[in-house]
C-alpha cells in the first residue's frame, strides 16, 4: 500500500476483554515495529519483526500481550484481559530493511479501556 495502515483507528473496550490491533505495512517492507505511547509520554518499544520472526520482543510488558506477523506482511497485536493501564496509542512502523533504515509510521490505534 501507499503507507502504513492501522486499524481500527479508535477502540473502546471494557476491562477484561481481549482486543486485536492490526498493522498493514508498506508493501515489501521486511521490518515491522510496534510501539505504545501513553498520553504526553514518549514511545515505548514493544516488539520488532524481521519477516515473520520476532528477534526482539523484549518490550512486551506482560504475557497478556502477544503479536504475530504472517506472510511477511500484516501484523496483529493482541492484548488479552485488558486493563485500564493498557489505554494508550499503539503505533506501528515499517522499514524496508533491518534496524538501520528509516521508519514509516501508521496513524496509530487509540485504545481506551473503560
Amino acid at each position: 500500500g501507499a503507507g502504513v495502515s492501522q486499524s481500527p483507528s479508535n477502540k473502546v473496550t471494557e476491562k477484561g476483554k481481549d482486543v486485536e490491533l492490526r498493522c498493514d505495512p508498506i508493501s515489501g517492507h521486511t521490518a515491522l515495529y510496534w510501539y505504545r505511547q501513553s498520553l504526553g509520554q514518549g514511545l515505548e518499544f514493544l516488539i520488532y519483526f524481521q519477516g515473520n520472526s520476532a528477534p526482539d520482543k523484549s518490550g512486551l510488558p506482560s504475557d497478556r500481550f502477544s503479536a504475530e506477523r504472517t506472510g511477511g506482511s500484516v501484523s496483529t497485536l493482541t492484548i488479552q484481559r485488558t486493563q485500564q493501564e493498557d489505554s494508550a496509542v499503539y503505533l506501528c512502523a515499517s522499514s524496508s530493511q533491518g534496524m538501520d533504515e528509516k521508519l514509516f509510521f501508521g496513524s496509530g490505534t487509540q485504545l481506551s479501556v473503560l
Partner: protein
C-alpha cells in the same frame, strides 16, 4: 540503554528564532534518526545521520553527530508556527525512542 534521550523536555520560542534540541545515547550506533510528531499520532522521519558523518542538512534542519560524546543535536532555523510538534531521536541500535522534546513556536 539503547534508546536516545532528548533534552530539553520542552522548548518555547518565537517565530523566526532558531530551536536547538539534543539527543544523548549510550551504545555504539550505525546511524541516528530524528522524527517529528504532530498531535500525538504517527511520527514522520526528518533526517538520518550515519556514524561516519558529523553534520547533515535538510532544508531548515541541521543535524550534528558527535560519536565520541554519544550525542546529536537538531537545529531548526527560522522557526515557524507549523514547526510546533514533538521531536524524537532514535538510534539504529533497536530503534528505541526517548520522551521527546515538545517544541512550541509562538506566532
Amino acid at each position: 540503554s539503547q534508546q536516545g534521550e532528548e533534552d530539553p523536555q520542552a522548548l518555547s520560542i518565537q517565530e523566526g528564532e532558531n530551536a536547538t534540541m539534543n539527543c544523548s545515547y549510550k551504545t555504539s550506533i550505525n546511524n541516528l534518526q530524528w522524527y517529528r510528531q504532530n498531535s500525538g499520532r504517527g511520527l514522520v522521519h526528518l533526517i538520518l545521520i550515519r556514524s561516519n558523518e558529523r553534520e547533515k542538512h535538510s532544508g531548515r534542519l541541521r543535524v550534528t553527530l558527535d560519536t565520541s560524546k554519544k550525542s546529536s543535536s537538531l537545529l531548526i532555523t527560522a522557526s515557524r508556527a507549523a514547526d510546533t510538534a514533538s521531536y524524537f531521536c532514535a538510534t539504529s541500535r533497536g530503534m528505541r525512542f526517548g520522551a521527546g522534546t515538545r517544541l512550541t513556536v509562538k506566532p
